[in-house]
Subunit: 423 residues, 2 copies
């Protein structure tokens, strides 16, 4: 049986196949393997936003704050909580991932006074590292950020990390799933090794939430944040979430004392009293239209179930690896993502010296070929994202075949090396 027929069979047996039609596909829809950058549009979101815009904003106007908007950040937090293994009062939607990392990292440094070291790794997403650099600068000269060095920018040896965390370490900030390679940390063991030194861990779940079952409480996790525009399908730049374990909510301070974090925002007191619980980590008025789009998307994930999503994701990433081994390795591609299932998230990184131009050729094919959309990450990586709610095995197969065609025919040579895009 050839590989494409095998893919079609796998699609036919897929217990989540009915969910694909719950997403919006326009005419000329590409093969979309970039849900790890921006999730697709759920059809329910279209009708929900229509209601939010014309009914809630247009007709109910300011009254909508009393009719659901005020509670929305917390309600969505409760809806997300079981998908990431948290208690429903431990998660809330607020700001961007960047601002949430800033708030939580600031708080962590305050409750670990005297410790001057912040540990992260060179696999981390740049904004995470930048936030820490800025915070160290602001905290004073003696503060420093140290980066654990990865193997080849793709995976991390836990020993390397362990040797960097010491009794001067206040905070460890890591991406649970690495953005470039899809490498997945063992949350429980890292949390444990940091705890042994008295350090807190802040997890960036941007590439994990909605992609695999995260078990924050089971791992004894302290702090986490992440975006909702990737595997959660919340829409472009959708508001982010944050998690503070119930054990830390009382003591952890926020640096940004906004009115939505006040005990009684509409009492208009002239002196700040922080709200009890997770609300303390809110700031100002949230962007309601973008926030509202998160709700139908989270409901779809509940409908599918995180375990079923992980099962399909692992089957699909394995299928991608197998196909790449067969078609692409002999064309000079190497695999950046760990082979072990428990060490990878839901995207696969393939490396090739011409990765940038191959990626341009996939996205902008000549003639009437269907576009394939993965994304490129400096300097030699193409990421193929598997979003089990809408990705088909046949999409994965076609993407690999098309990549092989581009490399073997040198079709990529038509494209410029200029980095003219921003993503």
């Amino acid at each position: 049986m050839n590989r494409y027929q095998q893919a079609l069979d796998l699609d036919a047996q897929d217990p989540l196949k009915h969910l694909q039609s719950r997403f919006f596909f326009g005419c000329d829809a590409p093969i979309y393997l970039d849900g790890n950058s921006l999730g697709m549009l759920p059809r329910d979101t279209v009708s929900h936003l229509q209601q939010v815009i014309t009914r809630q904003w247009g007709e109910r106007l300011i009254r909508s704050w009393n009719e659901g908007w005020y509670e929305l950040s917390a309600r969505l937090g409760s809806l997300l909580a079981p998908l990431i293994g948290a208690g429903e009062d431990e998660v809330i939607f607020s700001d961007s991932t960047t601002v949430n990392l800033y708030k939580l990292a600031f708080g962590a440094l305050q409750i670990r006074p005297g410790r001057k070291k912040i540990v992260t790794d060179d696999l981390n997403f740049p904004t995470d590292i930048y936030i820490l650099e800025g915070l160290a600068r602001q905290m004073g000269r003696e503060y420093r950020v140290e980066l654990a060095g990865s193997r080849d920018g793709m995976t991390m040896d836990e020993q390397t990390l362990d040797s960097l965390i010491d009794t001067d370490t206040a905070l460890v900030l890591l991406s649970h799933t690495a953005f470039k390679s899809g490498f997945l940390y063992d949350m429980e063991s890292v949390t444990e090794l940091a705890r042994r030194k008295g350090a807190l861990v802040l997890w960036d779940l941007s590439h994990s939430a909605g992609a695999l079952p995260v078990r924050l409480n089971d791992a004894g996790a302290d702090l986490a944040a992440g975006c909702s525009y990737k595997y959660l399908n919340g829409g472009p730049g959708a508001p982010a979430f944050l998690y503070v374990s119930s054990a830390l909510q009382q003591q952890l301070p926020s640096p940004i004392w906004g009115w939505f974090s006040e005990a009684d925002p509409f009492g208009f007191s002239l002196s700040y009293r922080p709200a009890a619980g997770i609300r303390k980590f809110l700031t100002g008025t949230p962007p309601v239209l973008s926030l509202s789009a998160v709700e139908p998307a989270l409901k779809l994930l509940h409908e599918a179930g995180m375990d079923a999503i992980r099962t399909k994701s692992l089957k699909q990433t394995q299928f991608l690896l197998d196909t790449a081994d067969e078609l692409l390795v002999r064309l000079g591609c190497t695999v950046g993502t760990p082979r072990e299932a428990h060490r990878r998230g839901s995207h696969i990184s393939l490396r090739h010296p011409e990765a940038y131009r191959i990626c341009r050729a996939l996205i902008n094919p000549a003639g009437d070929r269907q576009a394939v959309i993965p994304d490129f990450r400096e300097s030699d990586t193409i990421r193929f994202g598997i979003a089990p709610l809408y990705t088909r095995f046949s999409d994965v197969c076609r993407a690999m075949e098309r990549t092989a065609e581009i490399i073997s025919t040198e079709e990529f040579a038509r494209h410029s090396l200029d980095r003219d895009g921003v993503t």
Copy 2:
């Protein structure tokens, strides 16, 4: 001629009357005098958002970042700039007002080292005061926030402010138009008196932008921020804007070093270099749906012109004052807003011991009376917002008549004193 007939005549002569139909009115539309809390929905926004949702997100997906989204924050900043008297490279959309105030106030304290005092006033919106309290706490024990005391919570004597600003003052943060009373500061004279002592001024323009022509450059203003969900009609919780004068952009640091503020965000460098210019004050990925809604709304303001808006606003607030003098003063109402045109924004505050219950009765009328929507602010204030793009003189007249009816018949007594709402 009776007052209602006068109102209809004024409506007929109104040079902006054609713009009312550019807003969305559902069936059972209330008389809406709360555009100072949440602006109405422009009809163009409905169709624009439809495009953003299904075409930009649904069909173009990640490619939309290269097709407009990445530039959107700056483009909207340039569009807003002339409406607030700023250069087009001095304004950008980002985060919430709260987070922007935090970033700019933090920056101001860094470039005024050694000065330990922050001045604001007791007319200011609570989030502004809270942000300063939090920042002072974080900066260290010697930092303090001092509040200039108003006359009766409604207006400020500039002498009082002047006497509080000294050579130990790093920053003065004021709401240009006071949220409760509509009192309007003279931006130029306050900026000048702060500058004489070497202090910077950060203006909260939330109740000014879109309500009256703000002249940041003419006033020599240093810093400003504000929301876009009031008179700018950008939608509930729409992203906020910030202004940093070109003279300060190079030296002012931001505390939140997010990837959107980096010189080359998609270079994914492991070390932060701030972007040149106003982009330095961005943080993370912006909420694109909410941000997109701001664009058609700003275009409507350009179409009307800020001078025409101010002319109509002053006529309407004067008409409201005249009507209140005739109908409401004898019923125990007093006016909280300054009578002088150059001292008021675009909302009028009426005070009455039963303000809360009167407000409830206006919003929730018995029988088939049309609802009137102003808002209530503790402890005795009803705010009536004039949004000249869609407010009619006849709306103002009916609102005053209805208020008189509620007070004179004691209809408010049907309502509870419990503060059950959040707005």
